[in-house]
Symmetry: D4
Subunit: 207 residues, 8 copies
């Protein structure tokens, strides 16, 4: 019953971004649009910052679900991009699973829309396959808080670890001495309250 801390390791993790599409985003009501946009883009910046292999997938992007958020497409222009022809659980798509296996990583960060389907299904499939799975909860959205609560319990019960983009960034970074400017800039760009601290500090330091 000894506990092992399966800790995020930037050399052993891949990121899966599932169905962050313009139409589907209109369904997200457990975060305000401002907050959710910020959370998703912060996660993308973290993946870029740490060079985390990232895999994008979409569902019917030429239909009502709409195109993938352009900022993500641009941020991960050379990442595997898998438009699924119909599978709801991305893990049922062989190309998607192959792309994950090709990364050779054993830890998976998963975020998507909507939480109880596009996130929870591949989370459970990945756990069954033996991956260590980390849900980026605040870059995943759904219809309402009740639905979110139920899906969080289902994923947590199965062994997934629930995190947020900020926790992910900090657990990957480990030590500020690895890069103060870069990581600090990333945080300031997505945490207005932290940016305020830095501005007050800088002005005074300049005196």
């Amino acid at each position: 019953m000894a506990f092992t801390y399966n800790r995020l390791n930037k050399d052993d993790v891949a990121l899966l971004m599932v169905d962050h599409q313009a139409g589907l985003l209109s369904l997200v009501r457990d975060f305000s649009p401002d907050e959710f946009k910020n959370n998703v883009l912060a996660l993308a910046d973290i993946a870029k910052f740490f060079n985390i292999p990232t895999i994008l997938t979409t569902s019917f992007e030429n239909g009502p679900n709409g195109p993938m958020v352009p900022e993500l497409k641009e941020a991960f222009a050379s990442a595997p991009y898998i438009p699924r022809p119909g599978q709801i659980n991305a893990w049922d798509n062989q190309d998607f699973v192959d792309a994950i296996k090709a990364t050779g990583k054993k830890q998976l960060l998963i975020a998507g829309v909507v939480t109880e389907v596009c996130v929870a299904f591949p989370v459970l499939s990945a756990l069954e396959e033996g991956y260590e799975v980390f849900v980026v909860t605040d870059a995943s959205g759904t219809f309402n808080q009740t639905t979110r609560d139920a899906s969080w319990k289902r994923m947590s019960q199965a062994g997934a670890q629930l995190m947020t983009w900020f926790g992910v960034g900090c657990e990957l970074h480990r030590d500020w001495r690895n890069d103060i400017e870069g990581f600090g800039g990333l945080l300031a760009g997505h945490l207005p309250a932290y940016a305020n601290l830095m501005q007050s500090y800088s002005q005074q330091a300049a005196v």
Copy 2:
């Protein structure tokens, strides 16, 4: 400690609708009436769509608890219908258990009113009997959110998986290629926000 993803399988699942009666529905306060009605009817449509064997049961429907919701009665006109003579836990009613066994399924979807009694009791009984149990949380209602939280924890602790009607539909459908029109219509009928996406898309496509 390996995790097995007990995934809903449309060929191995039955649905139990417990005590969705007109009087008892007036007790439900953890959902707005509009939302709850929509959730219950969406679950019914899913069961119809996938031909899930469904079993209905009621408690004293000639008394204050009132008749089963007419839409359910109509939707499942030929389903086993078990008015219980007094058992609070439907699993204590032999006819009910027999009807479940007669389906030959090992997965059970359970929804009802009120959550901590009419849902939780048969959920726990079914788990003890070895069934894989999935609670349809948003088609189950009760007095307030505190009560809901406590009952969710009790059922989750026992091993039940907490889902919602939308997650159930998607996990059963697996692949949109099985039926785009039908399943899309089902979703649009119960997700106004998704219907809006489809309308915008259709108009533009018609241009």
Copy 3:
């Protein structure tokens, strides 16, 4: 300082439905989608029931704002329908104002999306013109509750009366003896909790 009760009068009222378009509806976050859809359709049913002259208007329905909700288009197939070429305040569109004047009514019911713009602007213009204005608050939606609160205060401060579809229906109907079946059916169709009462009552009455 004597108070005059400007009471809705079915013979002296017109309804303005402003910008209930599929795309714009995705912006509404101060109501759940289920509730808001129900509220808007309930208001439409009331207008039909009482033969209230109704005027529809939209803003750029061939663009991202999307088409008017199809149920409204259908319900008011022969009503004046004014796609505005650019005016944000519908009252700045002469056709719209002309259509209102053509009704010869001095009371206006106004609902729309979003509340602080598409509703508030014509509300204030109509008040200035001397109309008695009634905002149908729950058939009007916007980004969040803070915005709603501010816009309600602005409209109320100017003299508009804040109502809901249910209050509107009841103030118009005045006396159940005018039509019990019809009005009761309308309410039951949009108030699940009231439908439950009727079902319990009917079953027992049938005994």
Copy 4:
């Protein structure tokens, strides 16, 4: 623009209890059932304590709306009781208005279900007739808080004073020396937190 404090005066006030019927109470969702029941019965006790002339009215109590709450019927067994044959606004019922006029009072306390109809309509009618009107807000209930907010604004805008049963009791009592035991008992019976204070005090006083 001098302000006059229209203060409740036990010798010049009547109470109107509108449509507190068993069926309609199931529609009330802006208070928990425990709280609302307590509030309504507290108001009734206040009326009894101060011998306030009280008038009861109901709407279709043999139908789905159900009978008046039995505790009210019993508390006001000899009060005018006016089952309305159809008028939604009780003020449209001549018997109701006659009963009010017969009291000879110029201040009216009004409570009922639902707030935006059964309360707001007679409130506005009474204001137009020149009465000083006090809404007992917490003995009046409706579908949700949004509806309540809108109706409160409409009534307040027209000049009604918004109160609660506790405020009403205290403004009527004026001075504890008029009756400490009686009024204290009334409060303790409906304010568990105050009853706790009294119990702690009494025990210690007994030492």
Copy 5:
């Protein structure tokens, strides 16, 4: 990993009421006073109805904590009553444990004030001793919802089952045929919404 449903059994359960004292009740802020009073008294009525051996305990009732709620004292006039001379965890008081053992029951219902101390500590002690423990969550109160959430998680993690007074009553009763009148009366007395259903039904039945 087979699950056993440890189901409440009226012949094998005892109830522990811990520190429901007038002073301490003023600290409870996760329920409104009306609701909490109702919940505690409902639990007491259930214990009386099923003749559940009940043990009361208090902490310094002659000091600021105040006396036990008089309704409980009266309801359980002949029950073991253990004023603790100082132990915070009631299980550290030998008389309390002896009283529990004297009942010979292996299931314990525990409720008290405040949840994270007076309830959680004996809950954890009882679990360690091998009892099946059921927390009556809504008859237990504390400072705020954050504290409640943390303490629920701690108790649930340890294996306690979280219930409510209504669930407890129903799980004990098992079958309405054991006593319809008595149990129905108990529910009606503590669930105003259910009482309303019964009144509507009774009136119509009387027609």
Copy 6:
């Protein structure tokens, strides 16, 4: 209809503290205890800082209502202290009104427990007498937010200005140059978030 800004003037204002008694404080549920205590003491500090004439009054402090909060008693040791023999509206007590008149001020700051009675009644009386009245809303508490909302509307409708202790302090101070250290210290002592700013600033300034 020209608007006059009745602005707080430290030379023309008196403060009335009504019934901040230990027992009554247990009834306050629209603020957390930590926040409310801080708000009341902040208001007291402001009155001391600006030498605002202050009048204290209590209701039955030897009974269950309990003694005045000791910090207030100490802060205003030489202020008029009027234990009312029974009047609920403090304005009905001649000593209280005399004490107010003796100050010769025409602006009144009023705070108390509970808001809709102990605050609202003297607020309305003072307005009728022609005073400019400012309610210190966050140093006044009551049973719940619904009650607070109703009483705020009643007082605002009558012409009272709704403020908070922070707004009061700032409107009285007018210009930081009158006293930076003193007023800054006052704020830091009652606004932890502001104290944090000052600490960060001071440390850096010391570098």
Copy 7:
């Protein structure tokens, strides 16, 4: 009592941005940091878009209050910038009032931190001077929602109109034909939900 719609007119309005400083922003708790930052920058973009004369003022920016938000400083690099030497109400600073008068406008948009002081005080002063005053409520923040509610009521009572940045932008723009691209881009940049609509539309249009 005829109502005049004092409508925002881009040729007759000035914007006052009061104390949006890095330190003070840490006090704002009635909006999430992401939302508030977006609201403030959206308002700045509107002022730029319509060339609204804008006046910035700060309070002790070399102390704990911190520097003005750099994005504002940059956006309004050539605007009057008035660091107040001590006046809390910016209207007490002659330079500030002179700068306003120099614009020659009679409508004022006011936003700032914190709402009940830095916004409310100049709002009331400006109303007294005869200006038409519009509060940009969502670009103004304060300690908590209770404080916000009280200050909104105070300003509304005095005649200020409560708006939001979105309402301000739309009331100024009047007609989309004035500039579709520019105004649409502004909205899309600050309303993620609207940007999503535009992306879905654009992709389909491109097909």
Copy 8:
């Protein structure tokens, strides 16, 4: 599967206070500033009262994160104080771990800012090392409630026990007879509602 109650033992516990720094505190939004300050200082008082070995650590306190809260620095003037040169997880700092090991305790109380990083990371590390870990949830704060919920689930899933400062104090104290005055004073100083009880009691006792 027998449960062991790992109960806090004042002789076997150490307290870790992680990053309670003036700047970082401005990020905490899941508690009001008043409540959070009180919680942190209450925990400090408990550690002092029971002579719990305490270890303080900070992250970049000369930068924007700001200095440690002065009250903590003062309270634990002679405690190990470890300013980390860059490690985000304090457990990665060897001095920190050495200081913990030097205490020789096997139970750890951990609190800090922000919860999902500065608390969760060392919590998970400590669990892996075999410590019994108790999170002081209400002396730990973060960006919002969603983040808190996710981090609580992660820590609870790993085996940490979630507590609050009050529960910690009571579980350590065990028996009031160990020290009534001291512990009572500690509670009264941090629980205004309890202080009120004591004041009412004392006054009456003095009679």
